[in-house]
Symmetry: C2
Amino acid sequence: MVQCVHSVQELRNILKPLKAAGKTVGLVPTMGALHQGHATLIATSAKENDITVVSVFVNPTQFGPTEDFDAYPRTLDSDLKVVKNAGGDIVFAPSPKEMYPSEDMTWVELTGNITKVLCGKTRPIHFRGVATVVSKLFNIVGPTNAYFGQKDAQQVEVLRRMVKDLFFDLNLRIVPIVREESGLARSSRNTYLSAEEKAAAVVLSQSLKKALEDFKAGDHNKASIIEKVTKIIQAQPLSDIEYVECYGLPGLSELKDEITAPSLLALAVRFGNTRLIDNIILE
Amino acid sequence: MVQCVHSVQELRNILKPLKAAGKTVGLVPTMGALHQGHATLIATSAKENDITVVSVFVNPTQFGPTEDFDAYPRTLDSDLKVVKNAGGDIVFAPSPKEMYPSEDMTWVELTGNITKVLCGKTRPIHFRGVATVVSKLFNIVGPTNAYFGQKDAQQVEVLRRMVKDLFFDLNLRIVPIVREESGLARSSRNTYLSAEEKAAAVVLSQSLKKALEDFKAGDHNKASIIEKVTKIIQAQPLSDIEYVECYGLPGLSELKDEITAPSLLALAVRFGNTRLIDNIILE
């Protein structure tokens, strides 16, 4: 039986005696519209913790003014079923007012390359919104372990840095990308795609897979790898590339000519009005 | 016996079994140079908690480029004695590198009036530095209660807002201003004052005390109260006023003509090179 709570106080009242009894708590922060990728995060948490809390909150502060905040799918009823089937225990689904109680806000914001490259170039406030809401969730839940998907690779690097810098006392657990059979990375935004766009979008995972093969075969030249990926995607007429970039791990450090292992090869590409991201670690 | 630890890991190793055993932990964040004001914070914590941790860290990020970071008194040996005598248990004295592990930092920053008025006008990065370092300390120690002095009234309002917005799971305990017999508010910066300046600086507490008397006697006019305080201070030739201002509590809201109770009457005044602050709550 999954419990669905909407207030911070109610959630704390539930968790307090469990923690006092020494139970471990896993937190899976989501924006809902749960798919197999989220289910994997939840199942991983359920395996590793006594209690699993799944937050479902479409966070307004991580959407830019022209982005899809209003259109973002909200499917709490089916989300509850996904959580139940994956072994989660509690869904925390707060209102925006519950999460942002003051008109003038307190922000958590990272400086440096880590939030400025990749998606940060076109989504300048996105990672400030992510860091802020995740800080709130960490403080509300006080988890032993927190689960995020490698799909949002830049978010992962931002949160690693934030946890280190602000000394959050928890383990970040990063779960590999879950893909459809076609190779398309699972995403709540896949529901926006037409059948034709969805078929076309498999080029993303195909291009990344090819890049990893080339890297393993000895091509460590950054320009060469990026050019080959770009060409594969451009051959698909429905695609519109926003970026194909490569940065060093951890921390998204700038690479010169050569790709050193491990590095992150990441891309953002539009199909129609839908912006998809995908990535692979070259190592 | 006071234990002095320098690393986050060591402090966590000490606190973990104590917390698991259900002990309450009080945190007193300081920049060292401990005086009777700090001793009162520590003694209050010692009375209210099983364990009291006093952090001693001159936080570089809350000093502006022209401020007294290098000159700020560092007196760890005598600080340890103050902590011991006041009933504290652990001193946490980390290095800047320990507290700021990354070159590119993660900041906690508040927007709105609360950080822009009073000291925020002339110290634009100060409260970002305070909010950031206090967030780190909260996450490192995980205190039940955290102790701050009313002397830093704007800091108190900033931290109240931050704790509310980011959902830190702790109680903020605010302790009244501790004064010398003359009425001068205790401050680590009082050591910068010459004997003549120190004698002159009693005008600050005298002017605030008079304002409270006037307020209680029925003068609720903001301009009148501020003018009377200003005139009292200006009559002291060694004084150089930075501001005398009045804002509503909580949150430092703008007041129109009338002072509504409770409001904060706060001032910053230089004597020679030393900038002193003081305040009183009108209610």
